[in-house]
Each structure stands twice: as structure tokens, then as C-alpha cells.
């Protein structure tokens, strides 16, 4: 299974999240993307195994960009981390159909626990 980690900023929240993600995916393939274009390029490459994407979204514009590539994310299981808790942001976030939704002010223990379960219950096909 491949884990794609996407975050365009490198602030404290992102570093904390990346640490938690790395801790549970040490034996897995973890790929980090820091620009939207590099993420798109990766998603345009063949995906022959299960893919989980952890997306740290820093604003509405970035969320809209992710929504614009929903076709590329159809077979990807998404953990979405949103910057704020505004109702509108959450509503838009659900349009990405995340398997789990978290927020930047979380301690990310929840994200790590969910990701760990995803890695345990990977699809056999």
C-alpha cells in the first residue's frame, strides 16, 4: 500500500501530522508532495496497489483545487485534514468523500489510529 502525504506548507501543524503519519507507515511506502502539481502528476501515474492519501488543506482555494481533481482520486482512500472548522469548509470537505475528516488543531492521534487501521484492513483486490 502506498501512502501519499500532501501539504503545501511546512508549519508546526504539518510537521506534527507528518510525524504521526510516518510513525505508522514506517514499513510502508510514504510519498510526500508539497505542491498541487506534483500531487496531480503522481495521481496520473499508474496505481497498481491500494493508495491512501493524507491531504492537509490550508485554505478554501486549495480545497477547491482538490475538488477539481476528484476524478483522479476516485480509487484513493482519503484522510482529509482541514485548516478550520467553518460549516462551509466542512460541507465542501465532505464533497471529497473522505474516509476520515480531521482538523489542523487536532493532536493527530486520531489520524494515526485511523491510518493504522486502514493499513491493517487493506483491500485484497
Amino acid at each position: 500500500m502506498t501512502v501519499l502525504f500532501f501539504a503545501t506548507r511546512k508549519n508546526g501543524d504539518v510537521k506534527r501530522l507528518q510525524r504521526e503519519v510516518a510513525a505508522v507507515t514506517c514499513s510502508e511506502k510514504l510519498e510526500a508532495y508539497t505542491t498541487f502539481d506534483s500531487l496531480v502528476q503522481r495521481l496520473r501515474k499508474p496505481i497498481c496497489h491500494s493508495v491512501v492519501a493524507v491531504l492537509f488543506i490550508t485554505g478554501e482555494e486549495e480545497l477547491l483545487k482538490i475538488l477539481s481533481i476528484s476524478d483522479l482520486l476516485l480509487t484513493v482512500r482519503i484522510i482529509l485534514v482541514l485548516q478550520d472548522r467553518e460549516k462551509e469548509t466542512i460541507t465542501k470537505g465532505h464533497r471529497v468523500y473522505p474516509r476520515f475528516l480531521s482538523h489542523a488543531d487536532s493532536d493527530f492521534k486520531d489520524v494515526a489510529a485511523v491510518l493504522e487501521k486502514m493499513l491493517e484492513t487493506r483491500h485484497s483486490y
Partner: protein, 463 residues
């Protein structure tokens, strides 16, 4: 009420005439046929609203004809009417999507009531209360089984009832859930997914209900849960069979009252969410062993959609493959690829235990392996699928040989010819229901020659 068109497929002439008369009194039009073949031809060539279908017909079992009847563009409702009702047959019929299963010994009122309901249902269905064109993003296929599921999607989309979607892993349960939401009045509101397979037990409660500040260690701020976020929209519990028993009890209350409390909270909150749930597990068996609450199960399946495994709708495989190869090629930025007939043969001969998800992954691998090749050949498929195709082709050949030569050895030509002739005459007499004039016309034999052959093979012309 508009005049409905009814077809009766039954070899009991008296019953047919009696039903026609009663249906006429109701202000509708009915016709009847005595054989399955004739009946199916009628269904495929004319518009019928309801079909009364007998099970034991001279030329076959009515239940076996259900898929062909479903192929009709008007997709009539089917009411099974049988002289020999049995619980297994009734279950099979209902699972095949028939409207009702009734015995001929029932009173005329008991027979007419389901007809009245079916006509009423069709009137509502075609009166414009459902979306004219169903948005079916990513749901591919025209097989009778998928069409029947889409009918339920349309029905579900126009109501607020809870829906339970069942099916093996990889059959597309979430796509159907999204289709119900996208076609409903809640389409512009939240569709919140609760993936019960990935939530650790300790997270379920706070993820679903939310929590107050200080409710537990680490709860440094109050959080809204998915039930609150789904207010006005749809809450989709994926793989609900994994929902812990302790949460099932609390969730049942929310489902009944649409009221909930945050973990550690005192105030009750309201959420007007619509519930959709999916599972690949048998919740009935789970409720028998107390792993799943029966009262919650009853609440969940006001409506239910049972998605077929891919091996049960093989006719959709080519369309699915073409759609997804075009999508994969579009994603990879390469010209879309052609298909060799053997490639499709291989896809069709495999059983797809992982269903559509396995098919997609296989196609992704094939496109990747093909590289710049413009056409997909069976060599681009994984070995286990090609082996299956090779074995199936040998098996088919053997099956034909076995039916022609049951003993396994090649018989003498005279014996072989006689056994075929005997079978032909048996079929002829059965098909024509012992009508010698008709049998002569079909077979091209003279009356005396036909009698001579029937005598030779001791085939009775009268019961």
C-alpha cells in the same frame, strides 16, 4: 386511473379467462398466453405494466424467464402465480425483484389486491415524481439486475426512508449510496461518510456524536461529530456490520428521535439527517447471534438494495471495461486503447471474486503493462485470469461432448441418430402440447410419418 395493460402467462385456460374478466371489471386490459416463449415474446414486443407469471409452464419454469422479462424496456412488474407454492421459490422470486408471489388457491380478492398496488405503484413511478434521468455517476451497466437496483435507487431518492445496501466487497455500495443522495432533495447538502472499518473502537463515539471540552483526556476543545455535520444531508455508515454493539444502542436512539448529545454534554441537539448504510455482512445472521441489534436492523432497512456480484451480471463486463479503460487512459494522459476479442473473452470467463474493484485494478494493471501498445490483448492480463479462460474453453468443449455422448464413447451413427430423433420428437410433442396438426406443420412431417415415428419411439400423444 389510466388503463393498464396486463399479460397473463399461464397454461390454465380457465384461470386466464377468469383473470381477464376481473381485470376488465377493474377498467384495465388483459391478454394471455399459454407458453413461456410466447409470453416472453409478447413482453419484449409490447408495453405491459404487469405480468402474471405461472411457475410450471409446458415449455419451462417461469422463474427462469425473469431475467428475459426484465430486458423489456418497459420493465413490467411481475406477480408470480403458482399452483405449487413453496417457501424457497417464494424467496427466490422476491429476491429476483418480483412484485408478489401468490398461490392460485388464493381468493380472487387476494390475487387482485397486489395487482391493484402494482398498477398504483407504476402510475406514481411514471407520473414524474421521480427524477426523469437518474444521475448515476460511475454506475455502469444495463443488465436486468443493475437496472432493478437503479429502480430502487430512484424510489429511495424520492423518499427520506433509511436504506440498507448489501453486496459482496467491491460491488460498488458507496457509489449507489451517493447516487441515492445525489438524486434526492438533499443533494446540495452534506454526504458524510462514516467508514466503520477504519474507526478504532475508542473513536466511534466522538466521531459520530462529537464531544464537549474536557469530555475525556485530550478533549481540549468541543467538537461537532458527523451526525451534527450531516444535519439536512445524508449520513452514510459504510460497513455498518462493524459498528460496536455499545454504539449501536446509542445510535438507535438517535435514529428514532433525531436527537443526540455530544459526549460529555448535557444538552440535547437535533439533526435532520437521512441514513444510508451498507454492509457485506449478513446482518440477519449477526442479529441471531446477538452481534447486531435486531431493532436497529429493522430501522435500517426501510428500503433495501441488494447489489449483485459481477459474476451474476457478466453482460455488463464489456461496458464496464470500456468505461474504465477510457477513464484510466484519460488519467494517464495516453490514447485510449482498443480491445482484442480474446481480452473480453478472458474478462467474461473469470468469476471476479473481488467484483468491480478487482476488475478495475486488473484493467489498471493491463493498461500499465500494455504501455504504448494501442490494443489490449489477453497477454496483458494476470496469469490466473488467463489460466481460467484456458480451462473454461476446454471445459466448454467437454461439456458439449458429454451432453452428446453421455457414456463418454462415440456411439454407432444409427444409435446416435435415433437418440437425437427421439429427443426431437419428445420436444416437439411437449412444445405443441400434443397438437398433431401443429406438430406436423413445425416438423414438416406428414401425419402418417409422424405417427409412425411416435409409435417407433413409444412417445404417447395422449395423457
Amino acid at each position: 386511473m389510466a388503463m393498464a395493460n396486463i399479460l397473463i402467462i399461464d397454461d390454465d385456460k380457465m384461470l386466464c379467462e377468469m383473470l381477464c374478466r376481473e381485470i376488465g371489471y377493474m377498467g384495465h386490459h388483459a391478454v394471455y398466453t399459454f407458453t413461456l416463449d410466447q409470453g416472453v415474446n409478447e413482453v419484449l414486443s409490447e408495453k405491459f405494466d404487469v405480468v402474471f407469471l405461472d411457475v410450471n409452464l409446458p415449455d419451462g419454469n417461469g422463474l427462469d424467464a425473469l431475467p428475459r422479462i426484465r430486458e423489456s424496456e418497459f420493465s413490467p412488474e411481475v406477480i408470480i402465480i403458482t399452483g405449487e407454492g413453496d417457501p424457497d421459490g417464494a424467496e427466490l422470486a422476491i429476491k429476483s425483484g418480483v412484485w408478489d408471489y401468490i398461490e392460485k388457491t388464493s381468493s380472487i380478492k387476494q390475487i387482485m389486491l397486489p395487482l391493484q398496488r402494482a398498477i398504483q405503484y407504476r402510475e406514481e413511478k411514471f407520473s414524474g415524481t421521480h427524477p426523469v434521468a437518474l444521475k448515476r455517476e460511475g454506475i455502469i451497466g444495463k443488465s436486468p439486475k443493475i437496472t432493478a437496483c437503479l429502480d430502487i435507487v430512484a424510489q429511495a431518492a424520492s423518499s427520506n426512508a433509511s436504506v440498507l445496501i448489501t453486496g459482496e466487497t467491491g460491488t460498488g455500495k458507496e457509489l449507489f449510496a451517493r447516487a441515492i443522495h445525489d438524486n434526492s432533495a438533499r443533494a446540495d447538502r452534506v454526504f458524510a461518510v462514516v467508514d466503520c472499518t477504519v474507526l478504532p473502537k475508542t473513536l466511534f463515539e466522538s466521531v459520530l456524536f462529537g464531544h464537549e471540552k474536557g469530555a475525556f483526556t485530550g478533549a481540549d476543545k468541543a467538537r461537532e461529530g458527523l451526525i451534527g455535520q450531516a444535519d439536512g444531508g445524508t449520513l452514510f455508515l459504510d460497513e455498518i456490520g462493524e459498528l460496536p454493539l455499545s454504539i449501536q444502542k446509542a445510535f438507535l436512539r438517535v435514529l428514532q428521535e433525531h436527537r443526540f448529545r455530544l459526549v460529555g454534554g448535557k444538552e440535547e441537539r437535533k439533526s435532520d439527517f437521512r441514513l444510508l448504510a451498507a454492509t457485506n455482512r449478513n446482518l440477519d445472521s449477526m442479529s441471531e447471534t446477538a452481534e447486531f441489534r435486531q431493532d436497529l436492523l429493522f430501522r435500517l432497512r426501510s428500503l433495501s438494495v441488494e447489489l449483485p456480484p459481477l459474476r451474476k451480471c457478466r453482460e455488463d463486463i464489456i461496458e464496464l471495461a470500456m468505461y474504465h479503460v477510457a477513464r484510466i487512459c484519460g488519467r494517464l494522459g495516453v490514447e485510449t486503447k482498443g480491445f482484442s476479442p480474446e481480452f473480453f473473452d478472458a474478462l467474461a470467463s473469470y468469476d471476479w471474486p473481488g467484483n468491480i474493484r478487482e476488475l478495475f485494478n486488473t484493467l489498471e494493471g493491463a493498461v500499465s503493462l500494455a504501455g504504448k501498445d494501442p490494443t489490449l490483448y489477453s497477454k496483458h492480463l494476470p496469469t490466473h485470469i488467463r489460466v481460467r479462460m484456458a480451462r473454461a474453453s476446454v471445459g466448454e468443449h467437454n461439456d458439449i461432448e458429454r451432453s452428446l455422448y453421455p457414456s463418454g464413447d462415440l456411439p454407432k451413427l444409427k444409435d446416435f441418430r435415433e437418440s437425437l430423433e427421439r429427443q426431437y420428437l419428445k420436444d416437439l410433442i411437449s412444445l405443441t402440447r400434443r397438437d398433431i396438426k401443429k406438430a406436423c406443420r413445425i416438423s414438416g412431417l406428414s401425419r402418417s410419418h409422424l405417427y409412425e415415428l411416435l409409435k417407433k419411439y413409444t412417445i404417447m400423444t395422449r395423457e
